[in-house]
C-alpha cells in the first residue's frame, strides 16, 4: 500500500500548507463553540413580568417575593384585572404575567390545591418556554417546602398558556448541535472541495489513468479528514466540559464511536457531492445549501423540531444531524447507554451505507 500511503501524505500536505483550510479546520470549531455557547444563552436574567393577584394573601405574596428575588425576574407592574393583560402584552413591556386565583391560600390550605396561571409572550417561543419553566420551578420549589410543614400533600395547579417546548429544557443544547455542524462542515464540505479541486486542476484525470483504483482515491481523500474530524470532536467535547461545564454522563467510548459513525456519514455525503460538482464553487455551494442549512435549521439544533409545522417535521426525518444530535444529547446529558439510542444509530448506519453505495455508483458512471 505504498501508493496509498503517498496519497494520504499528499492530502496532509494540502491541508497543512493552506492557511485557509487550517483556519476552517481548527479555528472555526473553537470560535463557533464559544460564540454559540455565549450567544445562545439558556439562562434568563431580569425578565420583566407583571403580577395579577386576585387573592393577595400571605401565600401569594410569599410566592411573588420568591419569584422576584430569584434574580431572573423583575416586576414591571401589578395588574388589577384581566383586561389589562392583553394591553400590557401588546405594549411589549413584559414577557410574562403570573395570575393567582382568588382565595389562593384558603383553597391551598383546605382543599390542598390551588391554581396559578402563567401567561407568556410566545412570539419568541424559545425564551418564552424558558421563562415559563423558571417560573414553574420557583413555584414548585415553594410548594415542596410548604408541603413538609402542611398536614396534607399540597398541590398547585400551574396552568401554562403558550406553546410549550420540551426540547429547550436542557441548558446545554448547543454543544451537540455545534458538534454536528462542525463535523458536517469539516468532513463533508472539505472533502468535496478537495476532490473538486483535483477535478479543476486536472490531477483527478491523471489519478484515474494511474493504477490507483477509485476506492484508493476515496480512502486516501477521507483518511486525513477522519483523523482531523476526530480531533475536532475531542476539542469540542473538551471545550464544552471545561468552558461550559457540560458533562459527559454516558460512556465516552460510545460517544466517540457514534461520532466516528457520523463522521463517516458526513464524508460519504461529501464524496457524493463531489461526484456532482465539477468545481470548487459548486461543491461549496452544494455543501452549504444541502448540508449546512438543514443542519442548522432542521436538526433541532437551534429550533425545536416540536415547534415546526408538520411538513417540516417530516422533512427532519431525512436530515442526518437530527439523529446525531439526539444521540449526543442522550449520551452527554442523560447518560443513556446504547440500548436507548440503537434506533437512531441504525438510521445513521443505514444512511451511511446508502450514501456510500450511491456515490460509488456515481463515481463509476462518471467513467462511462
Amino acid at each position: 500500500m505504498n501508493n496509498l500511503a503517498g496519497f494520504i501524505k499528499k492530502e496532509f500536505i494540502h491541508i497543512l500548507r493552506d492557511p485557509r483550510t487550517l483556519i476552517i479546520l481548527f479555528g472555526l470549531p473553537v470560535v463557533q463553540i464559544l460564540i454559540f455557547g455565549f450567544v445562545i444563552r439558556n439562562e434568563i436574567q431580569d425578565v420583566k413580568i407583571a403580577i395579577l393577584d386576585y387573592s393577595k394573601d400571605d401565600v401569594t405574596r410569599e410566592i411573588t417575593n420568591k419569584i422576584l428575588s430569584s434574580g431572573f425576574f423583575v416586576l414591571s407592574e401589578n395588574l388589577t384585572e384581566n383586561n389589562d393583560i392583553e394591553e400590557i402584552f401588546r405594549e411589549g413591556k413584559i414577557r410574562e404575567v403570573v395570575i393567582f386565583e382568588s382565595q389562593f391560600a384558603r383553597k391551598l390550605e383546605r382543599e390542598g390545591k390551588a391554581s396559578v396561571q402563567v401567561l407568556a409572550d410566545a412570539s419568541d417561543p424559545n425564551s418564552a418556554s424558558l421563562v415559563v419553566n423558571y417560573t414553574r420551578g420557583i413555584i414548585f420549589d415553594y410548594l415542596k417546602k410548604a408541603s413538609k410543614e402542611a398536614a396534607q400533600p399540597l398541590k398547585i395547579n400551574a396552568e401554562v398558556r403558550m406553546m410549550y417546548n420540551p426540547g429547550l429544557k436542557s441548558a446545554f443544547m448547543f454543544v451537540p448541535g455545534t458538534m454536528a455542524l462542525i463535523l458536517m462542515l469539516v468532513s463533508a464540505m472539505m472533502t468535496s472541495i478537495s476532490i473538486a479541486r483535483e477535478k479543476e486542476t486536472g490531477t483527478m484525470e491523471v489519478l484515474l489513468v494511474s493504477p490507483l483504483r477509485p476506492i484508493h482515491i476515496i480512502v486516501g481523500k477521507v483518511t486525513p479528514y477522519i483523523l482531523l474530524s476526530c480531533i475536532n470532536a475531542v476539542v469540542i467535547i473538551a471545550l464544552g466540559y471545561f468552558v461550559f461545564g457540560l458533562p459527559v454522563k454516558g460512556s465516552l467510548v460510545l460517544l466517540l464511536a457514534e461520532t466516528v459513525l457520523f463522521i463517516s456519514l458526513a464524508l460519504s455525503l461529501g464524496i457524493l457531492i463531489s461526484t456532482m460538482a465539477s468545481n470548487q464553487q459548486v461543491a461549496m455551494f452544494l455543501s452549504v445549501f444541502v448540508l449546512m442549512l438543514p443542519t442548522i435549521l432542521l436538526s433541532g439544533f437551534i429550533f425545536p423540531i416540536e415547534n415546526m409545522p408538520k411538513i417540516l417535521q417530516w422533512v427532519t426525518f431525512i436530515v442526518p444531524p437530527r439523529y446525531f444530535i439526539e444521540i449526543l444529547r442522550s449520551i452527554m446529558l442523560k447518560g443513556t447507554g446504547f440500548f436507548n439510542i440503537w434506533q437512531q444509530t441504525t438510521v445513521l448506519i443505514g444512511m451511511t451505507l446508502f450514501f456510500i453505495i450511491l456515490s460509488a455508483v456515481k463515481f463509476k458512471t462518471r467513467l462511462e
Binding site: N2, N3, A5, G6, F7, K9, K10, I13, H14, R17, D18, T201, G202, T203, E205, V206, L207, L208, V209, S210, P211, L212, R213, L367, E368
Partner: protein, 244 residues
C-alpha cells in the same frame, strides 16, 4: 520502426453521446517506438479518443487494444503500462517539485529506493536541482510542462499519452519540450500526442488528422504533404478541412 509490432490497435471505434457521434468508426494502429501525432481542430473528437485509450471512458463499440490488452477487460493491466499528461499539466501547486515527483512515482507503486535514485537523476538531467524544494506554484510554465512530462514517463511506461501538451508555452519552450519527447522515444517509449499546432506535426513520425469524428488522413508528414501537394502540414490540414 514497426518491427516491434503494434502497441495500439483500434478497429471501428465508436463513441456516441446520445445522438452526437464523437468518434465515428475510427480505425488505426500505433507502432512501438514511434511518435504518433493525433491532429484535429477543437471538437474533432481527439480528447474523446484519447480518453477511451487511457481507460477514462468506455467506447460505445469497437475493438480496441492498448499495450496488448483489451480496453473493456484489461483496464487495470493497461494502466500500469501507460503514462498520461493532460493539457492542464496536472501538478500539485502546493507541493514542491520533488514532492510532486515522489508522489506520482509512489502512485505507480515504485519502490522507495528506486524513487530516490531516479528523482536525483531526473533533477540533474533537467538541471533543476536548485528548485527541487520550490513549490510548483512558483516555477515558470515552461518548467512545469517539462516536469509534468517527466513525471508522466517516470515509471518507464511502454506508451505515453500527451493531451495538448504544449498549450500556452512559448515557441522556445515548445522546441525544448519536443527534445524531451525525442529523448523519451530514445528509451523505447511510444508517444501518442494530440495537438492543434500544425508545425508540431512535422516532429511526429506519423500523423492522423481528425475532423468531425472521423480520421480524414493518416500517414507520415512527408507523404501527406506529397499527397495533398502542400508545403507544410498546416496546408494539408486546410485542404482536408475544405474537402469536408
Amino acid at each position: 520502426m514497426n518491427s516491434a509490432g503494434k502497441i495500439i490497435e483500434v478497429k471501428d471505434m465508436v463513441k456516441k453521446f446520445g445522438q452526437f457521434v464523437a468518434n465515428d468508426h475510427l480505425t488505426f494502429d500505433v507502432y512501438r517506438g514511434e511518435i504518433f501525432g493525433f491532429l484535429g481542430a477543437n471538437g474533432a473528437g481527439k480528447t474523446t479518443a484519447i480518453k477511451i485509450l487511457c481507460g477514462l471512458s468506455l467506447p460505445t463499440s469497437g475493438e480496441i487494444k492498448v499495450a496488448g490488452y483489451d480496453v473493456y477487460t484489461g483496464r487495470e493491466q493497461i494502466k500500469t503500462r501507460i503514462g498520461y499528461m493532460s493539457q492542464k499539466f496536472s501538478l500539485y501547486e502546493d507541493l514542491t517539485v520533488k514532492e510532486n515527483i515522489r508522489y506520482y512515482a509512489g502512485i505507480y507503486g515504485l519502490p522507495r529506493r528506486e524513487i530516490n535514485i531516479k528523482t536525483k537523476t531526473l533533477l540533474e538531467r533537467l538541471n533543476i536541482c536548485n528548485i527541487a524544494n520550490t513549490l510548483v506554484r512558483e516555477i515558470p510554465l515552461g518548467w512545469k510542462q517539462k516536469l509534468a512530462f517527466s513525471v508522466a514517463v517516470f515509471h518507464d511506461p511502454e506508451l505515453v499519452f500527451l493531451d495538448e501538451p504544449t498549450g500556452g508555452v512559448d515557441p522556445i519552450a515548445r522546441r525544448q519540450f519536443w527534445e524531451l519527447i525525442y529523448e523519451a522515444t530514445g528509451h523505447g517509449i511510444t508517444v501518442f500526442v494530440t495537438t492543434h499546432y500544425m508545425d508540431e506535426a512535422e516532429y511526429c513520425h506519423r500523423v492522423s488528422i481528425m475532423s468531425e469524428g472521423k480520421i480524414s488522413a493518416l500517414d507520415t508528414p512527408e507523404n501527406l504533404k506529397k499527397q495533398y501537394h502542400a508545403n507544410d502540414i498546416n496546408e494539408v490540414f486546410v485542404k482536408i478541412a475544405r474537402n469536408n
